[in-house]
Symmetry: C2
Subunit: 196 residues, 2 copies
């Protein structure tokens, strides 16, 4: 195979949820297309890479100084929801369950991947607490070891007793059949059982 | 969501085998990456889009005038394998089953998608027959209505009785359990049953 095409396929195959086979189909499809889709995609990506950056307040990706969530005056102040990345914000926004302010970390602490607190948007949280009069911090981080470690680190680094901390409930998902639920989730669901 | 990010996600979601959810994860992952992966990918894609084009002889994507398969003097002449696109060439090369010359159509005839013979690399086949002294044309097109229509069109457009035409055998794949095989394949496998 042509070396340029091979390199390009390897780059696409490194993207999340894209394997070598899909990458090969994507690259060949793009290069075979006669309507200029490959160039259009490359230019859009280049433009985004050069202009998109994290919001200086909350870390949401934006091309302005402040993102649309921070600028939105209709959103409630006082509650801060801490999430891993922009896709979590999009999921929460789609569900319409939260109307407060967001804070995007840009990842989770991870010894394996070498991600330390300095790599994440953590130092900014303390600055926001006073400035925005935050009363409650809601952790909506992944229910994994990394997510919980990050959560504990943030709680201990803030160490402000006047702030209320909470995390999303763990348990059986809606419509979830017990047959298909892992032991860890079942243990959490039992431990957190509700009185009726 | 930021309009630039939204547009980029839509462009990625149009790629084969990438849905909206995967596109969203890809774009956010790329833009969040601090090592410049987004720019590197954009530049590699732009470079490929500007320099890669179909080989003037066989249609394989290349950045030279003639592709590596056509230049390869070790490959046998006389047999021409007609395939839909470069990924089919890669699959055949990986299997090591064919050592002749390739001809890439760049698609299949399709009334639904409005693909006519002029859109495909068909006119070139007739020129190659004399020049390369082709004795056999092997069709390795998809086993679909479009693939078979394209095959029939090419056979009738060549109309040269001295050329031998063949197509890949249809039937039960190796390791294939009859339980999981569709009726069409079973019908073909029965019709083409081999005497033992």
């Amino acid at each position: 195979m042509n070396i340029k095409i091979e390199k390009l396929i390897k780059q696409f195959a490194k993207l999340p949820r894209v394997g070598t086979r899909a990458a090969s189909r994507i690259v060949i499809g793009l290069l075979q297309d006669k309507t200029g889709r490959a160039e259009a995609l490359a230019n859009a990506l280049l433009d985004a890479a050069q202009t998109i950056h994290p919001c200086s307040t909350c870390g949401v990706l934006t091309d302005g100084e402040i993102c649309e969530y921070c600028m939105d005056s209709v959103r409630q102040n006082g509650q801060l929801c801490i999430v891993r990345d922009l896709s979590d914000v999009l999921v929460l926004e789609k569900s319409g369950v939260f109307h407060g302010r967001y804070h995007v970390l840009g990842g989770n602490l991870s010894g394996v991947d070498g991600i330390t607190p300095d790599d994440l948007n953590i130092a900014n949280i303390a600055k926001r607490l006073d400035k925005e009069n935050i009363r409650e911090i809601i952790f909506a981080l992944p229910n994994t070891v990394e997510g919980k470690t990050t959560q504990q680190y943030i709680i201990s680094s803030i160490g402000n007793s006047s702030i209320e901390f909470s995390e999303l409930a763990s348990g059986v998902p809606l419509g979830g059949d017990l047959d298909y639920i892992d032991d860890g989730t079942l243990t959490l669901a039992f431990g957190g059982r509700k009185k009726l």
